[in-house]
Symmetry: C2
Subunit: 477 residues, 2 copies
C-alpha cells in the first residue's frame, strides 16, 4: 500500500500553503470492533446508526450498526448520557474502551466515554418503526430508506459478496473480463421486447438519430463476447441487460444483471455445464463462508426450510437430461398440465417446476432443444428425424430457468443458412465474418444474477434482491 | 473447489441414461505453458491462433496465441507439417512435448507431434495483415476484428486487470458493492445531455410511457449511492454511465464507465483525496505487477516516454491546491490563454493543462470551487466573501480531469435552500428526506475509467481503450 505523507514537495510550487493532510482517524468499523480478539481496553471511535436503545436505572445500552455486518455493536454507557435524541435511527459517534463483554450474545462491547449525536431521526415520519418486522412489500414503497432495515442490509451484503465471488471465479480461471456495450444497434437478436434509446434533445427536435441509426438497450452481451472469443479463449462479462416486457411477475425485471461467459475451443455441452455448475456452487460457498449470518437471516425469516434446499443443491451433482427425455418424463406424469407436453413445444413454467421436483429438487440441465425453438446462432446437432441444436438450460428449484447457454454455430455455411432462414443476413454480416478468419468451436452461457440470489437466499420476489427495481409502471428514483 | 464426478445418483431418476460427463481436456493455455517451470517433456495440448510462421528447410516454426498473454508460444515442428492452411490468423490445435527452449527469447517451446488446423483464415479478406503494425485509427473500422491484434489485446487485458484491481481495492477496505440503476427517472441531476429510454413498442404505438414517467440513462450513480450510504458507511459502484454530448473529442464517449464511491462520517476533503490517490496508485501498481508486458507494449509503441510519466506519478505525492490558488497561478502565468482566467469562471482545458505542467506533471487536486459553479448537492463551506463548496477535481497529465468529488450537503435546511434555488424541490423530495432520519456528513467521488486507462497507458484516443466505443454518429455492432 502506498501512503502519502507530508507535502514538502508541493510547497516548492506554491507560495500559499496547501491544505494540511489529515491523519486517518482512529475509527473502527462495527465489523472490525466485533472481531477484535484482544480487548485490553483500547480507546476507539465507532460511528453508526442506533438500532436499539435500552435504558436502565444506572446503565444505558445502545446497539449501533454501520452496515459492515448484520450484527450491531453493544454500547454500554452511564445513564447520564441518556437523552431524547439517542433514539432508533439516529446517527451517533461513540468514543470509549473496547472490552470483553460479560454477555453471552457478543464477544466485545464498547464502554462509552463520550457519545455524540450526529443526526436526529424524525421517528414519527420515519416509515421504518422500532422493533417492527415490516413485510418486504411494505418496504418496496420506500426505495430510498429500505436499505436501513436488517433484511435489506443482509440481502445487499450478500449481493455484494456474490458479485465479488463471481469476479474471482473467472479471474482465478484465467478469463478476461470484457465490458460489453449497453447501447447497441443490433435490434433482433433476442425474442424479448426492446428499449429504444435516443438523445432527449433529438426527441424534442427530431433531426436524425444521435448515432445515425436506431439504437437499443442490450438484451445480452453474447454476440459481443463472441467477437472477443476470436482473440481471447476465455472471456466473461457481468452487467445490466434489459427487456421491455410487460410483466409484473416475481421473476422478471426490466433491468437486471447477467453473468455471461464464452469459451473458445470447446466442442461439447458437458464442458459448458461443468463450468456452470462450478460457478453456481463456488459462488454460493464463498457467500456462505463470508456472510453466514446474512444468509441465515434470509433463510430464517423469509424462507423457512430453504437452508436445507440450498445444502441439498450444493452437495449433489446437478443432473443432465435431454429435451427429448424431459418431454417423455412430462408425458408420463400423472399431473394434468395446462399446456400438454409435446415434442417441439417450449417448456412452460409448470413443466419446469415438475421436472425439478421429479429430479428430487436438484438443479437439472436440459440439453439439445429442437432447432425450430432456438435462435440462429445455436449449433446444429445434425441429428434426425428430430432436428436439435446444442442448447442447454439449467432449471433450479423455486426459480425455474436460471442459466441458458449453447454451443455456437462456428461453421460459416451453416450459419449463413441460418441467417438467411431468419432474414438476418444483412444485419449480421459482421457476425458471419467472424467465421471467415480462424473460426473455432466455442460456446457460452448467461446466468440471471437476481434469480441466482433468489435461488440461494429463498427470496420470493425478484424486486427484493436488487437495490432499485425497474419494471413496467415503476421506475422510482 | 467443487468438482462433480459420476452421475450414479442421476441414474436413479431416469430410465434413459443421461449424457456421460467428459473429463476435462489436457488443454494448457499459452500463458500456463510459457510459465511452466519443469519441462521434462510432458505431453500437452495447446490451442490458439497463428501469429507467425517461419518455414525452414527441415523445421517449421509457428507462434500461437490464445489471448491469455501478449507473448505467444513457439511451436517447433517437422517441415513435413507445413501446409498452405498453416498461415497467419488460422486457428490450430497442437499436441506435443513441452521442452526447454534453446533460444534466449523464450523459456519453453512446444515440440509438435500433431498439428490440426481448426479454422482457416481468408488472408486476402482479413483486414489485419501479417507483420504489419496498423494504426489505431485504421483498426477502429473493424470493431469485430481489432481485438485480434497485439495492441488491442494488450489494452483489453489491462482493462480487465484494472477492473479486477478496482474491485479488490474496495473489497479489501470493507466497501459494499452496489449496482446503481442504469435507467432512472431523475432527469436533472447533471449538466450533460441525456439519453431518453422508451419501450420500442411504445414508440411505434404511443400509449403512455413504459414506466409511466419519462426515463433516462444514468449520468452518475452518486444520488443512488447516497441512498445506500445512509445504511452502509462505505459503498462503491462501477458501471456504465451516459452523456448524449455531441462531441468527437479524444476524451469523450456517449457510453463510458465510472468508478464511484461514497463514504459516510467523513468531514473533510482530505479524507476523500487520500482514497482517490490510493485508488489511482494501487490499481496502477496491480496492473504493472500482473501484466507488465502489456503495459510496456503500449508505452513502447503508442506513447514513447509515457512510462517515465507514469513512474513519476506513482512515486510522488499528489498535490492539493485550492481553486482560488489555481486562479492566482493562472493569472501570474506568462502564457496567453484563449479564456482569461478569472475567479468564478470554470477552469478550461487549457487551464487544466497549464496547472498540471506547472505542478511538474504530478496529478493535482483542485479543491473548494465557487458555489455558483457547482450542483445543488455539494456542501456549502460557509466562507466569504468568495463563497465556495467542498468540491474536488483531480487533474492528471495528458488527460485533464480524471476524478470529480465533493462533500455532500447533509444539513437538511442548507439542502432545502439549494434545491429551492435550483427549482428542484419537488423532484428531489426523496433526496431531501434522506437528511431527516439520522443524516451524517459524507462525501464521495467518481473516476472516469477510460480516462484512467488513457492516463496510465498513454493512449491518446478514448475510443481505443473500450471494447465497443459509442459516440455521436457511431454505434457499430
Amino acid at each position: 500500500m502506498l501512503r502519502t505523507g507530508c507535502l514538502l514537495r508541493a510547497l516548492r510550487f506554491f507560495s500559499s500553503a496547501p491544505c494540511p493532510r489529515h491523519k486517518p482517524s482512529g475509527r473502527l468499523s462495527v465489523r472490525d470492533a466485533l472481531r477484535a480478539q484482544h480487548t485490553s481496553g483500547e480507546r476507539v471511535k465507532v460511528q453508526g446508526w442506533i438500532r436499539s436503545v435500552r435504558s436502565q436505572k444506572e446503565v444505558l445500552f445502545l446497539h449501533i450498526n454501520d452496515g459492515s455486518s448484520l450484527e450491531s455493536l453493544q454500547i454500554v454507557a452511564d445513564a447520564s448520557f441518556d437523552c431524547r435524541e439517542l433514539a432508533f435511527g439516529s446517527s451517533v459517534e461513540v468514543q470509549g474502551q473496547l472490552v470483553k463483554s460479560p454477555a453471552k450474545r457478543q464477544n466485545v462491547e464498547l464502554k462509552a466515554e463520550n457519545i455524540t449525536v450526529i443526526g436526529n431521526c424524525d421517528a414519527k415520519a420515519f416509515p421504518i418503526k422500532y422493533k417492527e418486522r415490516h413485510p418486504l412489500e411494505y418496504l418496496r414503497q420506500y426505495p430510498h430508506l429500505r436499505c436501513r432495515t436488517n433484511v435489506l442490509g443482509s440481502i445487499l451484503r450478500v449481493r455484494s459478496e456474490a458479485t465479488a465471488a463471481i469476479h474471482s471465479f473467472f479471474k482465478d480461471r484465467g478469463f478476461v473480463h470484457i465490458h460489453t456495450p449497453v447501447i447497441t444497434s443490433n435490434d433482433c437478436e433476442g425474442a424479448g421486447e426492446l428499449f429504444q434509446v435516443e438523445a432527449s434533445s433529438k426527441i424534442k427536435a427530431p433531426e436524425g438519430n444521435f448515432f445515425d441509426v436506431p439504437t437499443f438497450l442490450t438484451v445480452s452481451g453474447q454476440l459481443h463476447l463472441e467477437v472477443m472469443s476470436g482473440a481471447f479463449a476465455q472471456v466473461f462479462t457481468f452487467g445490466p441487460t434489459f427487456r421491455a416486457e410487460n410483466s409484473q411477475s416475481r421473476r422478471h425485471l426490466a433491468e437486471f444483471y447477467m453473468v455471461e461467459a464464452e469459451i473458445s475451443f470447446i466442442e461439447n455441452l458437458q464442458d459448458l455445464t461443468q463450468i456452470m455448475e462450478d460457478l453456481f456452487k463456488s459462488t454460493a460457498m464463498m457467500v456462505l463462508s463470508n456472510c453466514p449470518e446474512d444468509v441465515e437471516l434470509c433463510h430464517k425469516f423469509l424462507a423457512p426450510g430453504k437452508k436445507d434446499r440450498l445444502e441439498h443443491m450444493l452437495k449433489n451433482n446437478f443432473l443432465i437430461i435431454s429435451y427429448t427425455e424431459a418431454v417423455e418424463i412430462l408425458k408420463k406424469a400423472s399431473q394434468n398440465f395446462t399446456f400438454t407436453p409435446e415434442w417441439g413445444a417450449d417448456l412452460q413454467t409448470e413443466h419446469e417446476k415438475y421436472l425439478v421436483e421429479h429430479c428430487g429438487n436438484i438443479p437439472v440441465f436440459i440439453i439439445n432443444y429442437p432447432l425450430a425453438l432456438k435462435p440462429f446462432y445455436m449449433r446444429d446437432n445434425e441429428d434426425g428425424p428430430q432436428h436439435t441444436v446444442a442448447a442447454v438450460d439449467l432449471l433450479v428449484p423455486g426459480v425455474g430457468e436460471l442459466f441458458g447457454g449453447s454451443l455456437r454455430e462456428e461453421r460459416y455455411h451453416f450459419l449463413e443458412q441460418q441467417l438467411a432462414r431468419s432474414g438476418l443476413t444483412e444485419a449480421y454480416q459482421w457476425y458471419l465474418e467472424l467465421r471467415r478468419f480462424g473460426s473455432v468451436p466455442h460456446g457460452g452461457f448467461g446466468m440471471g444474477f437476481e434469480r441466482y440470489l433468489q435461488c440461494i437466499l429463498g427470496v420470493d420476489n425478484i424486486k427484493d434482491v436488487i437495490p432499485f427495481p425497474r419494471f413496467t409502471h415503476s421506475c422510482l428514483l
